[in-house]
Amino acid sequence: MNAWIPRQIGRAVWLFATVTLGPMTALGTVDDAISYALEAATKYIREGYTVREDQSGGDLAVGERRAIRYQLFKGNEYWFWGATDVEGAKFHLRVVDAKGNALESERWERGVAAGIRVLPPTTGTYYVVIEVLRSPEERTGWAVVYGFR
């Protein structure tokens, strides 16, 4: 029993480091991606867009895709801004309807950020899909924010 306790504490310390430090590292990268996405949104605020505080983010390997589901309203104009925290990474952002049909009226890509303007043809559910096309990192942090007017 006496020999058991130190070994268990050692395992606890190892697990503590795994559970806490791993996520903290990733949180930092997602925070950077969110900052870049919000930075991309800044000039649109002057054009009357309200930028939502509900941000999505995570990390992806090259070739992986994530889709985020949104309720959009016909009659609003939306911009979605995506960003990555990895210099040299390339990602693709698209908006699709429930059948997978792409939907966009304007897009741009600059550095680590990209934006898509959407005028939903109907009110309903849409998906924003982000895909990492290439990256020097094994996992690439990403974030998507949106605004409406």
């Binding site: 503590f16 949180l27 505080e53 999505s56 889709a67 589901r69 949104y70 009659g75 699709v96 059948k99």
Partner: protein, 293 residues
């Protein structure tokens, strides 16, 4: 990594990692210290297999929940369609905190939604009153500290009549309250804040659309992902919350709402549908507020 189950302050994988960070530490230590020597201690990260988009051309791992819009998103469309009399839509009476925290969370959601109505009405005094009320109600559920600055910002921006800023600050207040509740392990109550806001937004939407029916206006009620989201959240609540009579009543009414706002086979949402929805939403709002006003 598993996709997120709640997409709120910062959704998707970020949220999962935060949950792992907050919740895994204590059980992880308990597992390690209690485990027999040499045994494996698998750590469960939770979550079912992710859905996939049905579209043939673009399969992707789906973040399971929907980003819940703030009421202001649909109110802006209403403004373009109908230019409603927003002042007439402001709610009379002062909502108060209840002894039941679930009810208070729902009330808080409705009050934040009222803030968006007041912004549309450009009613400075009403926005300021709502800013103070958000603070009081947040205090009643133990998250006052997290919204003090936000409440002040709402009041200052209202004084300056900077309506887009007020709209953003209301959104931030909502996110801050919910993030603080999650930190307090009150994630399920945080969902009730969203639900309260959605119900009040739906009441306003149906009142406006019902008053001057048009197919375009009624289409704004087509919100299948949201009703699915809220039903799922209520179904996953712990038995104590599910047994709450108010939560139970709302759950039953969402079952009635679902087929109306999820029309199939190209069916449009009719004038009668809108009126029925309005009656349900108003009834639920009365139930939420009856012991607080």
């Amino acid at each position: 990594m598993s996709p997120v189950s709640v997409c709120m302050h910062r959704g998707a994988d970020y949220d999962v990692r935060m949950k792992l960070f907050l919740f895994a530490m204590v059980p992880a230590f308990a597992v390690v210290l209690a485990a027999p020597q040499g045994s494996d201690s698998p750590v469960r990260t939770g979550g079912a297999e992710p859905d996939r988009i049905a579209g043939k051309s673009l399969p992707a791992t789906l973040v399971q929940d929907v980003v819940v819009p703030v009421p202001g998103e649909v109110f802006i469309v209403l403004e373009k369609l109908n230019a409603p009399n927003w002042r007439a839509l402001l709610r009379a009476g002062e909502a108060r905190a209840a002894s039941d925290r679930a009810r208070t969370a729902l009330v808080l959601g409705t009050v934040i939604a009222d803030g968006f109505v007041a912004v549309q009405a450009q009613d400075r005094e009403e926005v300021k009153r709502i800013g103070r009320l958000v603070l009081t109600l947040s205090g009643a559920i133990g998250v006052r500290k997290s919204v003090v600055a936000r409440s002040n910002s709402i009041i200052e921006a209202a004084d300056a009549q900077r309506w887009p800023v007020v709209r953003s600050e209301l959104d931030r207040a909502l996110q801050d309250v919910q993030a603080a509740m999650i930190e307090l392990h009150d994630e399920q109550l945080a969902q009730l804040v969203s639900l309260g806001g959605w119900l009040r937004g739906t009441e306003v939407l149906t009142t406006v659309v019902g008053g001057a029916y048009s197919p375009d206006g009624a289409e704004l009620l087509h919100q299948p992902a949201l009703i699915e989201f809220f039903q799922g959240r209520l179904a996953d609540m712990d038995p104590r919350l599910k047994a709450n009579p108010l939560v139970n009543e709302i759950s039953g009414k969402l079952d009635e709402i679902r087929p109306i706002i999820t029309p199939e086979n190209g069916r449009r949402i009719s004038r009668e549908d809108v009126e029925r929805l309005r009656a349900i939403a108003s009834g639920l709002l009365r139930s939420i507020l009856e012991k607080t006003a």
